[in-house]
Symmetry: D2
Subunit: 258 residues, 4 copies
């Protein structure tokens, strides 16, 4: 089967290009299941029920989150009920929402999705590696097809988790930096890996954000109000071909659509 993973969707420009190109891409790459990181989907900060529904209506099947998960308070209204969404599993016990989820596709194939946050240069959550072990123990009882969104900053931590999970999951897809990396590969034991899937949003912004305030912030070190950038959009994604029996990956392909 083919799973598409779309990099951090940033605001309206991100949603717009998904609407425009996703149907065609799904067809072209025979995609069976689409996951998107949606932590910046609502105006660059978090997500709302309305925007989640919008993304689902464009053909996305499942949403992952990251450090911006709580930015828009509306998430608390629907995170418990929405079964097509995960937030980092290494938040402490008692955190609203879920860190992993099993989705049954066509009544036969089960896909496990696990969201984890890095700790290097990131909030102080539980150990990503031990969290992965704990969550996989549950998920592996139900399916071999497991996609991990590792939302992290440091390339060392991301590659380390990729190798740590090699052979145990179908895909470790890095998110958060908003820049697609060119290091996609199938690791020796069969896990597809990429350090960062990239960003889906305004192409001429800085990480999808209006440039001028970002540059001004670096120059002045003063508080600055950021807005989602306008103009041409890009979509960053990967498509991974997975053996349904073993859950192992056979192919990983990067997409940059402008």
């Amino acid at each position: 089967m083919n799973i598409m993973f779309i990099g951090d969707v940033v605001g309206r420009p991100g949603r717009k290009i998904i609407k425009e190109v996703l149907p065609e891409l799904k067809c072209k790459y025979s995609v069976d299941f689409v996951i998107a990181n949606a932590e910046n989907a609502a105006g660059g900060n978090g997500i709302t029920k309305k925007i989640a529904e919008e993304l689902f209506s464009y053909g996305i099947d499942f949403l992952t989150m990251g450090n911006h998960v709580w930015d828009n308070k509306e998430i608390f209204d629907f995170i418990e009920e929405e079964l097509r969404m995960v937030r980092p599993a290494n938040y402490p016990p008692g955190t609203p929402g879920r860190g992993s989820q099993i989705i049954e596709l066509d009544g036969t194939v089960k896909i496990g999705i696990l969201n984890i946050s890095g700790r290097v240069f990131m909030p102080d959550l539980d150990c990503p590696f031990r969290t992965a072990d704990r969550e996989l123990e549950k998920l592996k009882k139900l399916t071999n097809i497991i996609v991990v969104d590792f939302h992290a900053e440091a390339t060392s931590e991301k590659q380390a988790l990729g190798w740590y999970l090699d052979g145990r999951v179908s895909l470790v897809a890095g998110t958060h930096t908003h820049v697609q990396t060119a290091d996609e590969r199938i690791l020796p034991k069969g896990t597809a890996y990429i350090t960062d899937v990239g960003m889906t949003g305004a192409y001429d912004g800085i990480l999808g954000i209006e440039r001028e305030p970002v540059i001004r912030k670096f120059l002045t070190q003063m508080p600055t109000r950021f807005e989602v950038a306008k103009g041409t959009s890009q979509l960053n994604a990967i498509v991974v071909e997975i053996d349904v029996e073993t859950g192992l990956a056979m192919k990983i392909q990067r997409l940059i659509i402008k």
Copy 2:
């Protein structure tokens, strides 16, 4: 003219693949000048005179550095005399070595090379943006062909400096993360840009380093001794075509050689 920039060279596996493939690559891409980031060239940590000479003998013309610049104390023996090397220009006044340099190629073309370190998740150096302004004021009097190695962690800071310098330099090449990004482009005013050129060293390590100790460090949070990884090497680089008159870039191309 064509300038090649090689991403962080990590230890012997990095130097080995340069020796093996650089002559052929220079020929294939009609390369006039080769720059390499060498902050990890000596066993993963810093550089020595011997290793600098080794890299020059393989066809590299110029070396840039980064946060690991002082890791090997031998650098203090030759950094003042070695005119083919720069370290981050935003170290304070009085720091050994130089932050920028002009190289005269074939007695006609002058190339300015500027090394800057990021500040986000990095050591507390002077402002990279104001340092760039200050250094460019000097360099622009002598040449329009200017290559900037921005050695930084955060993608926001890297893209911000790229846009900040658009039209003022030939190339802003990001280094430090050891993972090549797929966002190479010519910015609207003519500066070639890539968030990270990547890493030249062992392909099956974590950022060129032996995997097991890196993973163990994340699992245990205890001090760990790292070694350069062994096995197959990769070379990560870019080739940029520059208009000699204007100094602006016409083409940027990523290379991943395994």
Copy 3:
């Protein structure tokens, strides 16, 4: 002469105790000049013109700031005109307000006040040590009586600046941690030093802030809205006796008033 320095004033409970006890304290300790760090004076975040006037009306002569300086946007309405206030001098050139100031007392004695921010675990400002050198070059031409508010987190950076300026200024008073330290002393060359003057505000809060949300934030790692704590107040301050001729300190005394 005797200068009193009051530690970070946090919201209404901080202002209230100043109103109540400052007149009496000034009398008791023969205080000639009162400086207060006011970065948290307005509801815990920044300052307004109205609150600055309120503090002046209670007998405070001069205000220093810190990393919260821009939290309340009203500061931009009066920072340029208000000569009795400084913000960290190591913000880049062009930043609103001033980093140091000379105040003439009774038409005879001149007092220089210099505000500097640390860089360790703090925003990326210019080097505090070189900023101090630059500012002192200006101030020392006009007076020997110089008070430095070093608004910083790390005790190493604070003690280092204290020793670095020993003999060149009257006082290096640390602020920012909101906890008074017990290491007040006169350094060998005559500079009074304390790592942190402490906090003036609600005694039963956490750094002057309501306890429950702060603890919840640590437990949940989720965004939390903080409020200034209520209840009994404390005032944290120091009184330093300075030789008017040499500008050197003869005595430093800590105050904790509840």
Copy 4:
């Protein structure tokens, strides 16, 4: 009963003053049990068996550690056998040594000692608050007399843990900043608290370390070799009077001995 807690012992000057003044202090304050933070006891970095024995021979009963616990590799030779020492309990399961310990005094009174590391501006360990809950569940079954060494940087995190544990332990003593704070108090439910006990070592150093290299490091941002400072020593400690039945504190007193 009276428990003395001695702040971070730094190298030979720290050990020397303990030898000289501890017997007399124990007598003067009727001290029944002495705990010292020894993470910097061996030349400023970690501890050895020989130095642990030396400290015990001077009258110290128990040692706590912190982020420098593993600096001296000799610790691995004896940490498992040494029952009079704890290291931060929030290291992952499997870490050598123990995070908490019960000591039986005179065959009657049991004292629990718990060492926890902060996470703000510190290594990525497990949640200090949940770790405290977990460890206290064990310790409270055996004794009410519990001393917590919270080795942390941020004053917010330290005060938060103090209030979080109020009424559940005898003492929360902060360590790590090497500067004694003046905020010692008995919290409303009976826990003694201080943000930092301070440092026991060379008085004229920077945190017990030779000044010149520390200042040079801040000025140059280059790697620097630190040495323990020489000259006069100070001892920083607290003495806490505890009700043996309830385990609650009745009095906390700061000591600065020069």
